[in-house]
Symmetry: C2
């Protein structure tokens, strides 16, 4: 047992070093031991289970660098019990993440060696992330035992590279931030009407016609690089090729867009959605999506969109009218949409792909495979509920897995601490929500970043730390809702991102009251010195601080 | 005269190179000659008037670098009449900008040499900026004659370095962008309650106590560097030391803050505004502001705030109560505020400083010097008008110069093309506005960036290009209000900022319609290739494009 004076000394020492308000997202269980340790320079990770994979070794290198780069230049190692390493025991050899992968972990912070146990390498990655967040900048760390696992299996963000193009480096940086927030699915809305940057080898004309320029493309090699980069960080990359609407640039040469006609003059005008009546349409999709399946391997899911299908162009086209006449089983244009989806999904099934679709596919009663994931995206209010609440009840009531993005459209911005709006949405708050959750029918949540007003200049600052509010909602227990506690951790997590090279924006400003009431000084919060920013992360928290939601 | 085939060849050539939709802010008069020229590699600026100053030479170097760095690596010089240089004739030796400085210029784009005439070096700087915006990336330029001058003398932005700290490099970059928008006043709200980063030599304890950390300060040397940097770009730097409210950190050791008391128990609590009843208060202000006057020289104006003065603390303080009893001419706490301002402004007058104040000083009837500038900032609506309309009528009706910032608080953000909200505010739209403008009583406009949610991570992307909407309102004629034209120029100006290293955010996304109607291709708009961004500036403009305000 240490004597009291040592304890007091340690308390002062710790207070003067980097604060750690807690891990974000907050772990399921954490029990501190009251001890304080220090990492030794000799610190190394060691795989002690039977499964020492390159993925694990890569994570060891990454996190050792992250942890030790934060050390203050003048920080002499405090005289504490030293931790000389971390033993990591992974008990299974799962290498590909799915919706049923075990992501749980245990982390024992103790001397002389830390201990991590995880069923899969993916759980081990999260243990390392948690550990990295607990180490202060002077390399001291509190003894603790953490037992953790995510509430939801799918914790995603969506990026849109059609409306603006992101270079590969921006996407990698976004994946880094996702991993730091323990998010695990990058829904890559790679093409849309505005541009077609996917550089196909089998259909090269699509990006030649549809990319902003020959430089604004994602080659197959670049995509494979991104997929590999993400996989090493526990992030799946699910591509979206939206059909039959949201198509234009890139598709023109393939003869699959519907020719629209002026209803008064009968003259041809522009082009609309994919033409569901042409076999060529399915031939093109089959060729394209087979390649996509291969390029994004090992990911089995493809998102094939299905949202906002416009019917006017179909209705104006005489060839479609006569096709409908010849196919009386397809009763109308809604039926034509269903006909399209049915053939598309059959095609995907034949290729061995699973699929995610926007909610319209479900709403229209298209026959879908049991492992289909339905993404609920429609905003707005209807009756006494939000539309997403009604929709989630229907989708999960029908036994389908759902991903909820409707209340998490983070491309929308508002002045102030708008992360609170997202953080406060409880995703199981709908009729039958608790049962749906326990049956695994709420696959998870997704923070969407449509890119009308976002490109590489502001992706990082717009997305982070705001998306981490959704990350915590997707990972932590339903009871983790205290805003003051979340704000404190979100603030520190944002400071941490700056030290890791990600240009996350501030979430607020500091209170001036701390000095008056003898609370912690400004210098005791967020000591990270960020070269080039000078951003001080200048928030201050103390008992008299008036939080934005209390004003 | 050129033959027709040459003309056609040139037309095609020009269409394929960087588009130039027009200068931002739009000049007062521009008459194109129909000729197209090319800048030769030997191009140099030359001062031909009697006044060849270091400031002018510095601008020559800067703009030659800016113009030639944009040249495409593979762009062979087109076979056009070559411009070999630019003669710049400055007719007066004014070196310090004030509210009455002549900023006008003439720019003649013609071969073999361009010609610039300006009354002052400041007008010449704007001629060079205009010229740099007209040169395409292949170094071709249309012949034109531009006669230009600003509508308003004060075209400002306000930055706040108290709520978050900006490093000097961020501030310089902000000044660069201001100069590109022909803005000319940086209102530097350098200190406030949250932190006191101004590092005084005469009162060193203020930043020792009040800065976030010893690193988060602006030394006198750093400030002089910024002032010099700004002056070279035609930007005045006006510091604000807000009093008697908005003070806290940094002032504690000086014995000038009012001790507040619990009205029930009589116990001392925290500290409030400056105590107007102490001679020490004026001694401190005199010492501080004399230094500030010197550090920011040659600028004669100091902004001394005066907004949002809280009275509760004064009311709770028995020493102030007895002082009021001894000074019956000061009738109440409003009178006490006026008493403070009267003494402060007399002190400034004695030091030879001019002053800008927030509108409360005027509203409270404080006696002020004729050259005082009143900044109108209060938002909201009253009766059938915006409050700023009522206030502008009052301030200018009383014969005072005004700066309007109320409708230009650009720290507020909203989803979408919110620059339109600012662009659409006509500042002379108040009772007596036209007369006030013609009498010079609308000194100008100011785009404010309070920094609760801004630091170095997002200052550039939040401020630009949005603040350029205010810049055009402040510079161009009242009739320049076409949103489609403004959006096109704003988009290109933003792309230009990227090439100049400023991280300006996108203002929207492109339309897919251009390819269909035979309009310019995406590649013909905004060809700037921006290393590191990949940001394509992917907007597209064509006759069928549906602008956000038309949807």
């Amino acid at each position: 047992m240490k004597d009291l004076r040592t304890h007091l000394f340690l308390a002062v020492l710790v207070l003067a070093s980097t604060p750690v308000s807690g891990v974000l997202p907050r772990p399921q269980q954490q029990t501190d031991s009251g001890d304080v340790f220090s990492l030794g320079e000799e610190f190394q990770f060691l795989a002690v289970g039977v499964h020492s994979t390159p993925m694990l070794q890569n994570a060891f290198d990454r996190y050792r660098a992250i942890i030790f780069q934060r050390r203050k230049p003048d920080g002499a190692a405090p005289a504490l019990s030293t931790i000389t390493g971390c033993d990591v025991n992974v008990t299974s050899d799962v290498q590909v993440k799915t919706l049923t992968t075990d992501e749980s972990y245990e982390l024992h912070v103790r001397a002389p060696r830390l201990f991590v146990r995880a069923a899969t390498v993916f759980g081990a990655l999260y243990a390392l992330e948690t550990f990295s967040q607990l180490v202060r900048s002077d390399l001291s760390i509190d003894g603790t035992v953490i037992t953790d696992k995510p509430r939801f299996a799918y914790r995603g963000t969506m990026i849109d590279t059609s409306r603006h193009f992101y270079p590969v480096t921006s996407i990698k940086m976004h994946i880094d931030a996702m991993a730091y927030a323990k998010m695990n699915v990058l829904h890559w809305h790679i093409v849309d009407e505005i541009s077609f940057p996917y550089e196909s080898v089998v259909l090269p004309q699509m990006s030649l016609d549809g990319a902003f320029s020959p430089k604004h493309v994602y080659s197959i090699a670049a995509i494979r690089e991104i997929v590999e980069y993400a996989m090493l960080r526990g992030v799946r990359v699910i591509p979206e090729f939206d059909t039959p609407g949201h198509v234009s640039r890139g598709w023109g040469s393939l003869g699959v867009l519907t020719q629209c006609y002026d209803v008064k003059t009968g003259a041809p005008t522009n082009f609309g959605a994919l033409n569901p009546t042409l076999n060529q349409t399915y031939a093109v999709l089959s060729t394209l999506l087979a390649e996509v399946r291969d390029v994004f391997a090992p990911e089995a899911y493809i998102h094939v969109g299905g949202d906002e299908v416009p019917k006017e162009c179909w209705q104006s086209n005489p060839q479609i009218a006569s096709w409908l006449h010849e196919h009386p089983s397809v009763k109308d244009f809604a039926g034509l949409e269903t006909y399209f989806e049915q053939r598309l999904l059959a095609l995907l099934k034949a290729q061995g792909s699973s699929y995610i679709v926007w909610q319209e596919i479900f709403d229209n009663g298209v026959e879908i495979l049991p492992d289909t994931v339905i993404e609920v995206w429609k905003g707005g209010h209807g009756g006494d509920q939000w539309l997403w609440q009604t929709e989630m009840a229907k989708v999960t009531g029908a036994g389908f897995k759902s991903v909820l993005s409707a209340p998490y459209y983070l491309n929308y911005i508002a002045y102030g601490a708008d992360w609170i709006n997202y953080y406060s949405i409880e995703p199981a708050n709908f009729t039958g929500g608790a049962a749906a959750e326990s049956n695994g029918l709420i696959a998870g949540l997704e923070a969407c970043f449509w890119s009308e007003y976002i490109d590489a200049t502001n992706l990082a600052s717009r997305a982070w730390p705001r998306a981490a509010a959704v990350a915590e909602r997707a990972w932590s227990a339903e009871t983790v809702t205290n805003l003051t506690d979340a704000e404190r951790r979100l603030h520190e997590w944002r400071c941490m991102l700056l030290t890791r090279g990600i240009n996350a924006e501030p979430i607020g400003t500091c209170s001036v009251n701390a000095q008056r009431v003898g609370g912690p000084t400004l210098q005791q919060w967020c000591q990270y010195q960020v070269p080039g920013y000078g951003g001080y992360c200048a928030e201050e928290w103390d008992p008299v601080y008036s939080a934005p939601w209390d004003r």
